[in-house]
Symmetry: C2
Subunit: 676 residues, 2 copies
């Protein structure tokens, strides 16, 4: 830990809740509310006060009763806004700047979120109106793929790129949870209201969190509760066998049902506001209902019925596919799997089941179409799963600000551009009767900068902000994060913007081309290996040969996947003429000489994009050097070191892909850039 | 462990030293010798007696004094044979069948080896003459790549395919070393006279075997000593820093020299017959003299001078190459590296340094030319390194009896077919003044069958036999092993012969073609991945593109490697017309349409050989089924299970390679067999 940080604390780097944020909190704060979350606000005020002096003016935090007492603000009666708030749920708040005072009205979580909005500078520009804030997504959840012990290959956090687990060490909860407290605080500022605290691949040791290690869950629940966050547990579908000593996990077995009921009762006796279970079943080797000839509704409803009496919910992942696929068989298509398994079950899930669907049909690639499951299950509660941890997007070694990608996904109109209410965000949010939301895999670990790459904190921040309001622009969110993290220095803002704003498209430009995906090293998924997954059972193929590349997913001649979409998308993807360039190889197998809408041939696009992308990567580090002395020295050094790795890796991507496709196609680069 | 084994013992499977061997020991044995190794013989007689009744006739074990007392055998005076023995070294023995009695004359190890020769049925057919036996290779050594702790990726034994370490468990020597005692016995029967007991990649924990954990070495030395085997230790070149707290390991630094001298003194005080050190320096990340601008002679001689006063020796590995090679650079050739580094140092090594050279220029591939280092260092003691552990030859899941390959290597006339005394075996053996030998990496682990695949025991057996006598045929050795292991059942002999005799060529036929090597999954090295190492820093490339494949190592247009050989080999390998088919792609880059001497095109060879090989693999299991009930049931089951895996894997090799090269070349299989 460097010594040049303001306010050295046990947490080290404070991310976006340090001195710069503290400086934005008005010097005078009047808190007129009570209850546990009001106490949290109070404590947070004290913590921020210790970091910086605060801004001019005053902040008034009122619960509705206090606001009603006040009667009016700047002459406007508050009755109207109070009425609107009452109908907007307990997470909503209203905010208004009135001269040099800022007023927030809310209850419980609403008040907490309003307070953090002020700290993060989200005060509206127009002083004469109330800004009414309520989250777009009822569910705003982070999944942690943390193990308690260290896996010999995966490390401690599966697909984690930020050191070990923030929660566990040596197989148990860490004795010192100070950093977890700060993490919970960070999550609350961005409106996260749920976390799942362990890996969905539930190993034997972690399975016991449900029973003999329940105290450790309770301890985490206590910390998260203080920030309005509910704790969930990933459980093994085989728990009745693993933990209960039963001989079956069959969802229709009365003994199994009884075991889950009893177990849920014990959990709620200890943690009354426990959120529920997260389950990965019949997926990549995890146990599930298929073993007993039951379907996923049977499986999910089993757990749902055990939780229902206590208000708990089941997050049931739709990531089910054959991971022993035969690469020789070109008719099987992993992209179809979630739809094939789940769409027919629409309407069969209990009301407290949320089917958790990855945003794309494959697995968090840098570019995928939206999953056709979203939109295909109108009678089911859904949560769209995003991945903040950068598994396939540079592993927190490459810059890849994902908010533009998420924005595109959330705004995608599943029912067609002219079909109202059909964006992914709207479908995920669901209805009052069937609320859904957004779940994302966290990118945080025990690393001193939380996320390995300090600039990857922006992804965590953006995830929360977009789940709160999918209409926010990725660039605006980036500005908020930069200011809160690094303060008002305009050069810092400019450089960070330059590094991050286009970094997703930049990463796409030098890695797997045109939506084809993968081409990574098997196992760890980092770095290029064009054929790495080509002859494996994982269903992630590109079918490149000497003539062409891509996966034919058309109805006419391919796997039929394109036909799973509603119109106009089915026809648009079906035709090689209308399919967007960036998804061309996801839907079509084309010759290298095929002309893109851009006018380039596929092969020339592969050559140029990798070379151009790499050239741009080489401009990043010199730019970052300009911030030396303007951001904390240890953070500056870490980013510099990672930019070096990004340069090395981007050149490797460029050279391997250019060589591979030149060797395959024999077509020279018409720009004459060297191919090895 | 199955219950149907004869003589259940703490060691379980007794390999080739069980009841069948015991049955060959004559019922009456007269031992006329004394000393520790005579006591070992005595104990071994008792152990074998407990396993089986023994054969008719008698065995007479005489040391030279006893033989001289006896005076004559069958009327022949023994004086002549005693004189010959006296000049042949302490490992030699004489053996003669005289009616129903067998006579062995020898001292110490010689007598022990003679005794085991009788047990293993190596009694000569001609009864009227003395058979005089002395080892061809003075050094007959096994290296163990065992770690004390379990590596998260490599497991406990690096490149081990037979479970954990036989020696260590939980970071320390196993408390129960019964199986090590039997292992030492097995090694003595095949004439092994040295072992190195830890991985040449010496990690921090294992480094302490040299100092604070020396007692554990002493304990192993005691066990091996009883079988005439000397113990060696792999040490880190950085030991003075790691263990001694010095700031340098510079071989010319007087403090470093002093540290090694003192350390060696302490080792010999504890283990007076300690063999010496094994060192992997400046290789794949291990520390070495290059860091101080010194060469490998400086490094090796540093250790040699510390060991010399005690009679110890240094095994210094020549496996030095740039493992951060740039795949873009086609002029650098890993195959050249050992020659480039070591040949110029010929004559600079101390007399107690043995340079340990891998048999091929790359890394234990199924087919490589002989390393040009062998023959290039006439003034240096050499040991040729072979690999019994099947890293690149099926990992003890595939059948691959390696004796035919080793035979070919040992008989290869480095100086040309007409140059006497220049075979690899002769060059390795060296001269009386500069004795060398054979070192091999063991394939044994904690597995109940010692070698994972029970039939892989034949490789261990053959290694010892060939180091003893390189003129023995691989098939004869196989017969010896089969009879000792499974007894005289002719069907067993026939089937085992059918499974093993051609298994090396069979393995070659369906894996990487025509000497090109690798094409395995990176990291674990099992299973096909044609491009797995193609764009890595490891220097193991095939350069396949749409037109052709292979590495141009000619002097005329390639890396010049072919020119490192003496004539006639240099010219033979240089020309694509004279280069043997099986090494064609090692030395040349050729079009797929290039005609082999076999008359087939390269591409058709790739297609046919993989398909034919795979078909043959599918015949093995039905054949093995015929032995059910004729070999121990647990062993039968294990082999059956592994044959299934071999079938699966061979089909994967066949299909991946056929598909890869069809996609690349676009040339159809003229035999019309399906390509996926």
């Amino acid at each position: 830990m460097s010594t040049d940080r303001a306010a050295g604390t046990a947490t080290g780097d404070l991310a976006w809740l340090g001195a710069h944020a503290a400086a934005r909190l008005p010097r005078t704060v009047h808190l007129r509310s009570s209850g546990p979350l009001a106490e949290t606000v109070e404590a947070e005020i004290a913590r921020l006060r210790a970091l910086a002096d605060g801004a001019d003016g005053s902040l008034h935090l009122w619960d509705p009763a206090a606001a009603a007492q006040e009667g009016s603000v700047a002459g406007d009666p508050v009755a109207e806004v109070l009425e609107q708030l009452a109908g907007a749920g307990e997470e909503a708040f209203a905010l208004r700047a009135d001269g040099d005072r800022i007023i927030v009205i809310g209850t419980g979580r609403g008040l907490l979120y309003g307070f953090y909005a002020v700290v993060l500078g989200q005060v509206p520009a127009s002083p004469d109106r109330w800004s009414r804030n309520a989250p777009a997504q009822p569910i705003r959840m982070l999944d942690h793929w943390d193990n308690m012990t260290v896996h010999p290959v995966m490390g401690q956090v599966e697909r984690g790129y930020a050191g070990g687990s923030l929660f566990y060490e040596h197989g148990e909860l860490r004795p010192d949870l100070t950093r977890v407290e700060h993490y919970a605080r960070l999550l609350a500022t961005i409106g996260i209201n749920r976390v799942a605290i362990n890996n969905v691949n539930v190993h034997a040791h972690e399975a016991t969190l449900l029973t003999t290690r329940l105290d450790q869950v309770a301890r985490l629940a206590e910390i998260f509760r203080a920030q309005g966050i509910t704790v969930h547990l990933a459980v093994s579908f085989a728990s009745p066998i693993l933990l209960g000593g039963l001989e079956t996990s069959d969802p229709l077995d009365p003994g199994v049902q009884r075991w889950w009921r009893t177990t849920a009762e014990a959990v709620y006796a200890r943690i009354p506001d426990f959120g529920g279970f997260v389950v990965k079943a019949d997926s990549e080797g995890q146990p599930g209902p298929f073993a007993y000839g039951r379907d996923h509704a049977d499986g999910a409803n089993l757990l749902a019925r055990a939780l229902a009496p206590h208000g708990g919910e089941v997050f049931w992942r739709a990531f089910v596919y054959d991971h022993h696929q035969d690469w020789r068989d070109r008719r099987t298509d992993r992209a179809r799997a979630a739809h094939d398994h789940f769409a027919p079950l629409d309407g069969s899930f209990d009301e407290n089941v949320i089917v958790q669907v990855k945003h794309g049909p494959m697995d968090f690639q840098v570019r995928e179409p939206v999953s056709p499951v979203i939109g295909a299950m109108p009678r089911t509660r859904l949560a769209v799963e995003l991945q903040v941890t950068q598994e396939y997007t540079g592993q927190q070694k490459h810059l890849c600000y994902l908010a533009p990608a998420w924005s595109e996904i959330l705004r995608f109109p599943v029912g067609g551009p002219d079909s109202p209410g059909s964006t992914v965000a709207e479908l995920a949010a669901g209805t009052a009767g069937r609320p859904g939301g957004v779940v994302a895999v966290s990118n945080v670990g025990a690393d001193e900068f939380w996320t390995g790459h300090p600039l990857a904190q922006a992804n965590l921040f953006a995830l929360g902000r977009l789940a709160w309001d999918g209409q926010l622009s990725a660039q605006r969110i980036l500005g908020e994060w930069t200011a809160a993290t690094f303060g008002p220095d305009p050069l810092v803002g400019e450089v960070v913007h330059e590094l991050l704003a286009q970094s997703w498209l930049l990463y796409e430009s030098y890695t797997a081309p045109l939506g084809v995906g993968f081409m990574v090293r098997p196992g760890h998924h980092y770095g290029p290996d064009v054929d790495g997954y080509e002859y494996t059972p994982w269903g992630t193929y590109h079918f490149a040969d000497r003539d062409g590349i891509g996966v034919d997913r058309t109805v006419a001649t391919g796997t039929g996947f394109a036909g799973l979409y509603p119109e106009p998308w089915a026809s648009l993807y079906e035709s090689v003429r209308t399919c967007p360039d960036e998804l061309l190889l996801f839907f079509h197998h084309v010759p290298y000489t095929h002309r893109l809408h851009s006018g380039k041939s596929v092969i020339q696009h592969i050559y140029d994009s990798r070379a151009d992308g790499c050239e741009r990567v080489l401009t990043l580090r010199p730019r970052w050097q300009q911030l030396e002395g303007r951001v904390p020295a240890d953070l500056h050094a870490r980013v510099t070191q990672l930019l070096r790795e990004q340069e090395r890796s981007a050149q490797e991507w460029r050279d391997q892909l250019r060589s591979y496709f030149f060797r395959a196609s024999g077509i020279p680069d018409e720009n004459g850039r060297p191919i090895h």
